[in-house]
Symmetry: C2
Subunit: 512 residues, 2 copies
């Protein structure tokens, strides 16, 4: 093998000059919504078996604990209420829902450039919740997360190219009142980013004031309904196979208010879902299909995301574990089910069990992020910043996650095969009387921006250069970038008049 | 979502007891040689286009710089020597070779339990070279690698379940004489592990004494030829499209001595290979097919591995970069070409550009390791321990790599879909009058060992437990494990009489 540290001078100056300029949108090597689908852990026959098992589970086991309103909505749609209080779903009810459910939906950002279109195998990466702690890398400490942390997370995510949406990653533990917490979560997120925001309401009664705030931010109900830029994560089930009564009522409110919903079924394989990957997918699929019937019975075609989020478990201890190979399979298999139904879908990937942004965090985050992307998950939730099996959120990890996801996206983009990329002419001209290397060829120069993803903080220097640079520490560099990003004013801040109106109408905890 | 820290008592004691015992071979969740192939970045049509481009490159461009012996061998096989000194390969020559080349080969270990069978999509992970430095994590230092380091690497790899072979990861820089270095590399590796060993001879003249040593270790030439436990990495080309004259002569010696060869083409995309992923694969495929013709012309059916190792490059600087998403695609695409030809193949994955085993190292190592496995690379070289774009090797990283590869292998294993794993009966019995959770079910207990890969050093404790444990550091724990592993005597040590014979016949630098 030739020496890895070999440097060639051919065209280096030209390449550096070219690379220094900003990338125009048409030649960005990666972008939100790239197509996955080249990783298919399940065969078509296996997908069909999971589908049939899910329908059978809905038909014969059904779901308990629907609220009275849900019983009414679902029985009207054809579900059958048993003497045991469980709602069972004949196949035809599910099939009728699949015929009318929204197949391709948009999740809007306050800035339309941040809109996401969910369909087919297209992939978006973002944060999700709900951590209760912040990870301070300096002192290796876990501390309660606050509304300021949430706002800061939004501001950082707003500046990271490869974080495509912000589902609120942590709980504002400094706000004791749950309604105020929900309202302040919206404020903290939306004033920090113009990307699509996800929240999760604690109680049905909190939806109404939240929608009032969203109408204010949008500039009126019509504008909100036209481009709803906040969606709700509805943990509408308590696996296995029980509706979460209150969360269902929240969901009804959200649907009526025009808010897209994530039908979130987060069973833990081995505890609240079967321990087998296939079984956990069956149950999650069944549960989310029940949710889909529910939503479409309220409002046909309402934007809903199949949130099959089976999570892993360490069976030795019974504790959640999200950084495993099993997690990568749970999530990727679910993506295939979404595609089978042609429904927009999301699942959890990219979270780590590690307490700090260390090597374990890196491998765990990449393992499920790259496989989820290759499987074509429309919405990869928990993709960055998440530690300690969803208990802790870390800014440095979020910032490094941008680099990590960039590389995952490069893999998702795949291999282009054209006459140009096959490069036969180029090989001939380089070898037959040419320079004997490709560094300075027109093709190399012309594609070096469009084909390659360069890390922002990932270090590619030689050991010698690295030593000359003072052996920079990855985490320290991420901290420096964090400070820099948070020093800038938020690009998503509300205009002062609107801000004053919101602060008059609501008790906003975040300091001006 | 239910609280991630939720603990359930059901069956915990039983699970812990069960898990404490060692795993019998039949229920190990992962093992060497598992089948990949579920990640297919190239379509069948694209594979065919790459194949045709490679054959056209061989036919029209050919390779320069074959040694006189190679010219004779290859022209006899049907290659045509041009006036420009290049050997060109008509399609039929390649096709005839493909008909006789070994399709399924075994790479033996000195211990038969470590044998590897290379065929189809089966996947093995191991180290490869050739670093010139060791990474000392304590002082964040790079220092010259020594023969003792190489021996220690072998001893550590011998004890790591998920490291399936040891290609010598670093150069013994404390041995000035190249012949002595090659001989001592064999000694240091083989006395440290009974897994298959890969070396790389510097000069053709060094093969003969090395084979003498191997005969001694094997207990005779016949025993060596029956189960050759060392293979040679032949960098038989200097990309683009030139034979490496001396290395070809080494290869001829190895083939005649019954040593399996890795036909290694390590072009750097953008420097010594086209910058496009497809183009780099075309060139590597062409070069390795030329090597295959060469080997089979010497000895039809001789065990040879398609070593299409295109490596990435940071086009901003012209420096090698192996931790990128592009690298994952280069390697995975090559795997599809191996499968297209039905040939045993290997490629590079799992190396990092990071200087230390930090978060970047984790994500880079996982990105290409998991995708290479899913693509079904038979031999994943550079899978653990490799830093600084192949310049540095790190023991702590090697040890953590065992955990990392374990999770990658779990993904490769995939999703089993059977009536049992679909778990419909179990869902019914848990939900309908059952306990409402799966922690204590017979199915969960019976599969908790066979289905789940548990990390050895990866930390899954809660933040609270972690703090109670003194906030253990991942790298410090790896260092402790390293010390523990190296404190044990080598299980692969030669018996004293053999050792004395070898030390009489050769100048062995390693202290007794």
């Amino acid at each position: 093998m030739s020496s890895p540290s070999a440097r060639r001078s051919g065209g280096r100056a030209a390449r550096k000059a070219l690379r220094a300029g900003p990338l125009s949108d048409d030649i960005r090597p990666i972008r939100p919504g790239m197509e996955g689908g080249t990783f298919r852990p399940l065969s078509d026959a296996e997908i069909l078996r999971i589908h049939n098992a899910a329908l059978e589970a809905l038909e014969t086991i059904g779901l308990a604990d629907a609220p009275p309103s849900g019983v009414e909505i679902l029985t009207k749609a054809g579900a059958i209420l048993g003497d045991d209080g469980r709602l069972r779903f004949p196949r035809s009810v599910v099939e009728d829902t699949l015929a009318i459910a929204a197949k391709s939906i948009s999740l809007h950002g306050r800035d339309p450039r941040n809109d996401m279109k969910l369909s087919g195998n297209c992939v978006h990466y973002g944060t999700a919740g709900a951590a209760v702690s912040m990870v301070d890398v300096d002192g290796r400490n876990y501390r309660d997360s606050t509304v300021q942390d949430l706002h800061d997370a939004a501001r950082i995510a707003d500046q990271l190219e490869n974080i495509h949406f912000l589902q609120r990653p942590m709980v504002c533990r400094d706000i004791a009142d749950n309604c105020e917490m929900d309202l302040n979560s919206i404020y903290a997120c939306c004033s920090g980013t113009t990307k699509h925001v996800g929240v999760s309401f604690t109680e049905p009664g909190f939806v109404k004031p939240a929608i009032e705030m969203l109408h204010m931010i949008a500039g009126g109900e019509d504008k909100w309904r036209e481009r709803p830029f906040v969606s709700n994560s509805n943990c509408f089930v308590v696996p296995p196979m029980k509706f979460a009564t209150e969360s269902c009522e929240v969901m009804e409110e959200c649907v009526r208010a025009g808010m897209p919903v994530l039908l979130l079924s987060a069973g833990m394989a081995g505890a609240t879902a079967p321990s087998t990957v296939a079984g956990a997918i069956v149950q999650a699929t069944a549960e989310c299909l029940a949710g889909l019937v529910y939503v479409n019975a309220i409002k046909p075609g309402h934007p809903a995301i199949m949130g099959t989020w089976p999570l892993g478990l360490d069976l030795r201890t019974g504790a959640m574990s999200v950084g495993s190979g099993e997690q990568a399979l749970l999530t990727s298999g679910c993506a295939q089910m979404h595609h089978f139904y042609g429904l927009p879908g999301g699942a959890a990937a990219g979270a780590s069990d590690a307490k700090l942004p260390d090597m374990q965090a890196g491998w765990e985050q990449m393992c499920s992020n790259v496989t989820a992307g290759l499987a074509g998950v429309n919405m990869v939730y928990e993709a960055a910043g998440m530690h300690a099996s969803l208990l802790g959120f870390c800014f440095e990890s979020l910032i490094l996650g941008d680099d990590l996801i960039g590389q995952a996206q490069r893999v998702v983009r795949g291999i282009e095969v054209t006459d140009e990329t096959l490069a036969l002419d180029q090989i001939a001209s380089v070898c037959l009387g040419g320079p004997g290397h490709y560094l300075g060829t027109a093709q190399t120069l012309s594609r070096m921006q469009a084909d390659y993803v360069y890390p922002k903080l990932g270090d590619r220097t030689s050991p010698k250069e690295w030593a000359e640079n003072g052996k920079p520490d990855l985490i320290a560099n991420a901290t420096a970038r964090k400070i820099e990003m948070l020093a800038k004013p938020s690009q998503a801040a509300f205009d002062p008049q609107l801000d004053a109106q919101i602060r008059t109408a609501f008790n906003i905890h975040l300091k001006r």
